[in-house]
Symmetry: D2
Subunit: 162 residues, 4 copies
């Protein structure tokens, strides 16, 4: 499967900077929110929530953004996304039980890709932040293609308010 | 819990560059290897392995490195690590069933932190690569501390051969 | 590790019947409740929540019961439990997104073991029910031992109201 | 979704006994085998493999049986299965690292359902056994239907040898 291979070189042209300038540890940075409940199964042998569980919270933030902003779009449009690069910074340990808030904001829109800023919060405490680069591709050919207009409009609606 | 908070500013001083210059998509970059078997539960609704499952393979690569190179070290020494920053690039889609190889190599050693380069391979095909910054801290105070000599020696043994 | 082996024969003497007579598909059967939020990662390739994810909800119900009813008990007392037998019936498919309610009730208390009845609900719809036999053992010897009085009292507080 | 509801009453007629008479803790009981590698993420705060991870190994045993015995069958036939009842007995604790063997055998075939016996082994040590009742249904109507002949033949090929 050739998927992604051709993106590696083009991604830097498409998104000149990948880390956002927003302060992602600050709740005010985010446009849309969802929640997850920490599970016992999220815990590591050390008694803290495993980083992989925190990454699931980020994933739920992304799916929530898609469900909230892209409802009504052709299902085929939505299948065309794949995560190309995922960067997470873990700021603080998280315990069980807890309910976490996941904030998401679109920080950059390129020709065929976009960057999402995300944060996981336990109350006011920022547990982790992430920058996630997703690429839009043609499921048939596996090549990246320009963001369709309705997808671009949906992403723009989740950019920071000025 | 104050864990990690004080690291955010100091980490850049400790590790001036975080992305390695090794070509992590090339199997020859790695010093130590382990394996994982893809599970049905790793699959997403789209039928491909979820990125979070791939991140579990990276985790097993890290634990393998620790078990292989740091066996015999005081258990308390080993509890002092936490991942500070995790950066993954997803290069190709992975299907079920498969057995993957996970390669790891220490690419940089700072005063209290180090960087690991990792790759997940399905045969010769590189599925994903990662750069992982871990910090060593005092579990009592939550502050980062210098890497103890035996830990430093173990990390040096997993650096690229010149 | 010899853990559990000696229980296999004795468990049937300890708990003559393992399936409860309560109607576990009915919300009124339960004494204590907690919640979980369905995650995207819970989904199977067929788009429904995987049975293993539902089993995580059951686990959170059990941990909730312990945290709610046994708070203040010596930590060592609580480490002495292990699940011996887990029986789940899956009644209906579950989709994403959803928030589920997990009900738990102690249905039988033996000498060294007890049975928990559990149900996962999506609103009024019963998704799955479970009967879970746990055994209390001495962590040092691995042998089952009589339920300590404070544990027994806590379990009795979670039996059905008559 | 009405899926499953109508099965609850009919299942007992279809399968008069659900627990097998095979000694499932004995490796010789099984017809087909697959493997899983224990992951660090499988561990609980107590340092043992979580029951839910063991249930994933059982799932891989079932998918392996399907892939091995039903290859070439129409994809729509295979989508028609759902687990109705899952019963697991946990015999011994499992640690990391380990590679486990998962054995499966068809122990009973009814009109629209069948029972699978399964075992997870760490070498000669039996970690857990399971009895799993699956029902075949029409994806369109959600009603259970008779096992199609090619499915029945595949299941018969995985019954115990006499």
């Amino acid at each position: 499967m050739m998927l992604f291979e051709s993106w590696t070189n083009s991604i830097n042209l498409d998104l000149r900077e990948t880390m956002t300038e927003l302060e992602l540890t600050d709740r005010s940075a985010y446009i849309t929110w969802t929640q997850d409940i920490v599970r016992y199964r999220d815990l590591d042998p050390n008694g803290h929530v495993n980083n992989g569980a925190i990454n699931q919270y980020f994933e739920d933030g992304r799916v929530h953004l898609r469900d909230e902003r892209m409802v009504g779009l052709d299902e085929n449009l939505l299948r065309g996304f794949a995560i190309k690069k995922f960067t997470a910074i873990y700021h603080a340990a998280l315990s069980y039980p807890a309910t976490v808030d996941i904030g998401s904001v679109v920080t950059r829109i390129g020709n065929s890709s976009f960057v999402l800023g995300q944060g996981v919060f336990d109350g006011e405490r920022c547990i982790a932040t992430a920058d996630v680069i997703s690429v839009f591709f043609d499921a048939g050919t596996g090549s990246s293609i320009s963001l369709p207009d309705p997808v671009r409009a949906a992403l723009e609606s989740a950019q920071p308010k000025v």
